[in-house]
Amino acid sequence: MSVMESIDREPGRRPTIRPDERVTMSHGGGGRATAELIRRIFAPHFANPLLEQGHDVARLERPEGRIVVSTDGHVISPLFFPGGDIGSLAVHGTLNDVAMGGARPIALTAGFVIEEGFALADLERIAASMGAAARRAGVPIATGDTKVVERGKGDGVFITTTGIGVVPDGVEIGPDRLAAGQAVLLSGTLGDHGVAILSQRQGLEFGTTIRSDSAALHRMVADMVAAAPGLALLRDPTRGGLSATLNELVEGTRLGIAIDEAAIPVRGEVASACELLGLDPLHIANEGKLVCICDARDAEPLLAVMRRHPEGREAVRIGSVTAEQPGFVRMTTAIGGTRIVDWLSGEQLPRIC
């Protein structure tokens, strides 16, 4: 059975988890309880031939092209939120990091740090969501690890995922490729993830139906790279939002970026919530969006490719790379004035990815 067939297979019947079952220190001890935890919780949801090799290592076939590796720790609170949970987020986040290198992801790894006393049913919910996200993405979770920490020394579950991917020949993506005159594209609305998380926070509850945009972008990226192999840069505007992403690119360089506020899509509810909380949607984390910088003449063809994918339906051009005001991101505001788009200063809102 191929990897793809296996991960597309729905998990079979397995013993049910009782609501009162909890993670204990012995689940992390490496003994029988650990094996039991893996057999009951992880194996059924992650099932794929790489895992089933049953080694401590996953052996991958040598792919054509250059290999990229990316790793990311996920410590989000709350663990479950509208539009996803820590499990799907951990899969999507790492797939996207790999994809932003222009790469096709081929395998993931997952490391869990679980707090003693965590409900087994919740852990299963997370494993199921991770397994489903990996299956949908067509990328197997090739190997994993589980540790348990004493009560009070964690916050439910932390997940670290690593992704491995392959960059097709001829694709050279990187900040050194930026040049004045290039177009800046954005794949869709800003702020959905951060506001969905905030809306769940205690003390900040406000009625909203905003869902996280958490999604895997590698399929859209594959089509983009195929359509315009010369595209200069891809980035996912996660922590710190679009402003951090763009500032990172130009700070300390001889280039600036000019964007147009009126072109930037923000859902009405997200805008209102930001208004209420005194936040700027440009500073808020996204988990299913990308920024693409490309030759101006590739902009329209790339936008057409992006819009064919559900993750890129609202893709737009939001600005250009410029030689003026190097080091700064400038924005023409909604009313036609101008201003700098600055990094968020002070504290990042606590743990939203």
């Binding site: 505001t333 909604a334 009313i335 036609g336 004035g337 201003r339 700098i340 600055d342 002070g346």
Partner: protein, 392 residues
Amino acid sequence: MKYVEEFRDRALAERLAATIRAEVDPARDYNFMEFCGGHTHAIFRYGVQDLVPANVHFVHGPGCPVCILPIRRLDDAIELVERHGVILCSYGDMLRVPASKRRSLMSVKAEGGDVRMVYSTLDALDVARKNPDREVVFLGIGFETTTPPTALAIRQAEIEGLTNFSVFCNHVLTPAAIRHILDAPEIDPAQAVRLDGFLGPSHVSAVIGSEPYEFLSESYAKPVVIAGFEPLDVLHSVLMLIRQVNEGRVAVENQYARVVTREGNTRAQALVAEIFERRAAFEWRGLGSVPDSALSIRESYGAFDAERRFALSAKTSREVKSCECPAILRGVKKPKDCKLFGTVCTPDNPMGSCMVSSEGACAAYWTYRRAETLAEMAADRACVAAGLEDAA
């Protein structure tokens, strides 16, 4: 959101801007003070300056509650934590404001002091309920908009018999501060800034109404337009001020009539009057001692007054020496006139309060206009250097 977007429409903004351009007298300057930090923020956030002609100037006023709290009061708050061992509940902005000796509530917290950030006075009451064996003090700051929630919290604490809850009251009053600015010597026409009119606060006015500004037109012959916080509100209000000036009229006009009435919110006013009374004078950073400009808790609610409950020592509090916040808060200097701006002082390492609050002038220049500001500073320095050479 529709509602909000209506006030940020680019075509409408351009129409207003064109009208302003057509009506300003190019032979003169217009200096308008926006009293309120919320307006300062909106002006910078939307680049409103770019839509008005160069001879229309925004002078940024002292209406940023975090900015005007004198260091002494912050030192007092720190003393409450360190000497009296209270749990101090504060709005987030206040935590990073520099106190004496480069300390802040944030650094006090890092050193183990029990300082907690709250989003509302209700959160502070909750802290008091959950810690019955601790003293819990809410650091009350702000203008007339934040006073009613503090009053409510005190009344609620009384109803519940929360005897471990009190308020360190630093609530201040807008009209008294405006009067003081107009009385201050710098505003004398012979001196620095001549003010041709005021953009009146929107949220504050929703509480106190427009009537308390009438003295400005009556005794000081200054036009006032109470302005909403949206960028188009600001543009529209600027146009209304320009018209008053051009026509030689002096009146209190209300651009924000969708929210503000002449009487204001009388229920909120009654609640505030029940719990607070005027202080004879209060020290403002930048303005000095301003008569009748702040509130304290009435004796009948004295049990909830942290100043009565805890002995606070006399102190000599010191500002960072070259920080120009005081002059900036009076509208006589701009952030570019401070030599610490952008070099030593940034939002990540603030030397003065105006760099901390998002409503502070220094933070606004830094966040939204620092490219231009730093360039102007360099040009000013070059001018001075050239002048020195000429003189030599």
